[in-house]
């Protein structure tokens, strides 16, 4: 007789951190973000079905004047779409507070000891208006934050790429060099040519199509990779603790400024 023990799939927490500041109203950024997330949800369900060993749980944290959980309960991915409410823009950019709120839920407990590395996706179109450094320190002090797959999507060219890069972590071999805005982004490459280290730099979304594409990439390809844990030799892990799949080819040629929408 098999004992009465709780065997469980390993939880995989997928958390969006969405900039809902007033600037997101401009150029249809917020509707595009809502649309991109909504469209990605059915495909996330498919990823979940293809990886039944991982229990994918979704949360959404919005930050404007303050950080608030838009979807605060870890929700099985197949239950997100029926209860999805669109995000609304307005206010400042309390990114530091968002990092602190995120840190609080990445502690163990409530995080499960045997969880898979979480996937954290930060989406922003501007610069923080609060003390982001302190918030980031608080966040990165949590072991689960350090273990997480951290991705950042910069909406438009006003996004603070330095902060987004700090959230991701310094690129291996970058030597701490500061990168100027618009240079060295994962979106800044020839169409169809994969980045050398996908996801290790902020993804530059300059229009609704590229935003949707990166959201889809993060919520399906990356999620799928994170759902299939592979041990890694400690100290030899290359870029992240989950081998990230190649980025989708960009539609727009970033060198063509006439096609930049945001």
């Amino acid at each position: 007789m098999f004992p009465d023990v709780r065997l469980s799939r390993r939880p995989l927490h997928f958390i969006y951190l969405c900039d809902c500041s007033g600037s997101m109203r401009a150029g249809g950024k917020m509707p595009s973000l809502n649309q991109a997330i909504r469209q990605s949800l059915p495909e996330m369900v498919q990823v979940s079905l293809q990886n039944p060993e991982a229990q994918i749980l979704v949360r959404v944290l919005r930050f404007a004047d303050q950080a608030l959980w838009h979807l605060g309960t870890p929700t099985p991915v197949d239950q997100v779409l029926p209860q999805w409410r669109d995000l609304e823009a307005g206010g400042l950019t309390a990114m530091g507070e968002a990092f602190r709120a995120l840190a609080a839920v990445l502690r163990t407990p409530p995080m499960e000891q045997r969880a898979l590395p979480p996937v954290l996706v930060l989406i922003s179109d501007g610069a923080p208006t609060d003390d982001v450094s302190e918030g980031l320190r608080t966040l990165m002090a949590e072991p689960w934050a350090a273990k997480a797959v951290r991705l950042a999507i910069a909406i438009g060219h006003d996004a603070d790429l330095e902060v987004l890069q700090q959230f991701i972590g310094s690129e291996p071999g970058a030597g701490g060099e500061r990168r100027s805005a618009g240079q060295g982004l994962d979106g800044d490459r020839r169409p169809g040519v994969p980045a050398q280290r996908p996801g290790r730099r902020p993804l530059q979304a300059n229009d609704s199509t590229s935003l949707a594409r990166y959201i889809q990439w993060a919520s399906t390809a990356v999620l799928g990779a994170a759902s299939q844990p592979r041990s890694q030799a400690g100290g030899t892990a290359p870029d992240t603790n989950v081998p990230l799949p190649d980025l989708p080819p960009t539609v727009l040629d970033p060198s063509d400024a006439s096609q930049v929408v945001w």
């Binding site: 098999f2 004992p3 009465d4 023990v5 709780r6 065997l7 469980s8 799939r9 390993r10 990886n51 039944p52 060993e53 000891q113 045997r114 969880a115 898979l116 590395p117 072991p143 689960w144 350090a146 273990k147 997480a148 299939q228 844990p229 592979r230 041990s231 890694q232 030799a233 400690g234 100290g235 030899t236 892990a237 290359p238 992240t240 603790n241 989950v242 081998p243």
Partner: protein, 549 residues
Amino acid sequence: MKRSGWLPPSCESRTGASHQRRGAPCQDSSGLWCFEDGSGEPIQVLVVSDGHGGSRYDRSAVGSLLACRVALEAMQRELAGMCLSQHPNPQEWQRWLAEVLPVRLLQRWRREVLRHAGSHPRSDGAPPSTLPYGATLGVLLLTPRWWGCTGLGDWDLVRIADDGTGELLNEEPDLSGGGEATFSLCMEGAERHFAARSALVAIPAEQAPFRLLLSSDGIRKSCGSDADFLTLARHLGDLAAAGSGDAAAASTAGRHLTEALDHISLQGSGDDVSVATARWGRLDASAEGHGLQPRGPLIVQPGQEPAPPPLAADAARQRPQGPMALASAHRHAAAGSGDQRRRHGSIPWLRACLAALALAAAGAAGAALFGMGLFTRRLSAPGGASPELLGVLKQQVDTLCRAQPPDPGPGEASTTAAGAATPGASSGAASKSLPAASDDRGGAASATLQASLLSAITDTLNQRRSSFRDLRRGAIRPEAFLARPAQDPTGALIAWSALQSSAARPALVPALQLCPELREALRQQWQRAHAPVAPGAVDQTGAPDSPNR
């Protein structure tokens, strides 16, 4: 009054549910070996290894298998000739487990891995590296007066007391390198990480029964909590213990254990799962007369071909290990998955056939596909040679050329730092120092190694002198060996060497790379079989130019 001791151990590995779904191989391995030290005291060694998987570690299934094999062979090689009771100081053994043995293991594992990498070059031209073979390793060493553990990686060790209470004794501390980061054999300086996982526990005279359960991370990560894990560990221990009776009970218990492991993976992490179980308890007649007899190594990795007893050359020079070492492997399809396992089971009546089977055992060792041979089988055969023949021949060459020379004797060992710390030894194998760590050898030592390897291969081939002679005389045709190479790999290799220079049979004579020692040993055998051989009539294998004339 019955005395207490270690009861027959068990081990099992199963392909994870997610691996099965994706068609990925099992990258877990487990193994055990029961043998005696120089004074006849029983020793058990249990191992579990977990290959990392993923694209960076695409040969980790081989790395895991080699880790188990190397660990078992190293322990047996170093302890079988000693008398453990003459080294009662636990601190010495603690240090041996933490510092000395890891150096040995890593040297041998790296050597085997690089040998495999060299013989199986990557399609992208990348230089041979241990990285793709990354794997963890957990080792349990059980003696009558103490038990110890060592290793590195994310394995777990649980102790189950007689009342069923479980305790997690040993686990990998959390690493900051990433969510799935673990210490690995492929890391530079991996030896350093064994110390933190090494422990030695004395067994008091009135020790109550208990069990030890060594498991790969797939089991613990399938459980909702550590309490669930400990409950599960007790259950798995019960299943393993249920198989200590007769053959029918063992079969039933084995099936229940594999079903439980499959269930755990399916309902839990989906990862490969391995468990090795040791039991301390009252020794009854069956245990003393059956399960604790010296036995050959057992290594389990689902999906692979049967593993051999010790390497052919090793078997030829090691002292007899009892019937278990000679028991032929049998395998069966595991319930529900089609996995193949192998067991070197106990067949008591074989004791009477010990001498008669010795030669067969050496041949069977080559017949089995192991480690590198698992990959050589997949090679297409050039020149029309049968893939089976090519695979077997390569495996046999590899087996013979991989044979390791005996470890340094007490005199050599005493020159090392470890040797200096060992207790004073008098003479003889039973009193030699604790095995030393140093495996470094200079040029002279390298020559000694080569000579030892040549000697080991010669020992093996000497048992086949009649084959050389009969082939030379034409009493046996080479095709007789080559038609069924798996049945007699050594014979196939001898027949191959006989046909080397025969241009009329290209389809039967695939190209093989021999190590110099094997080439020389074959040359000597052919010289012996054929009295005067002109120097120009001997090809690279030493075969006469026309053996069938």
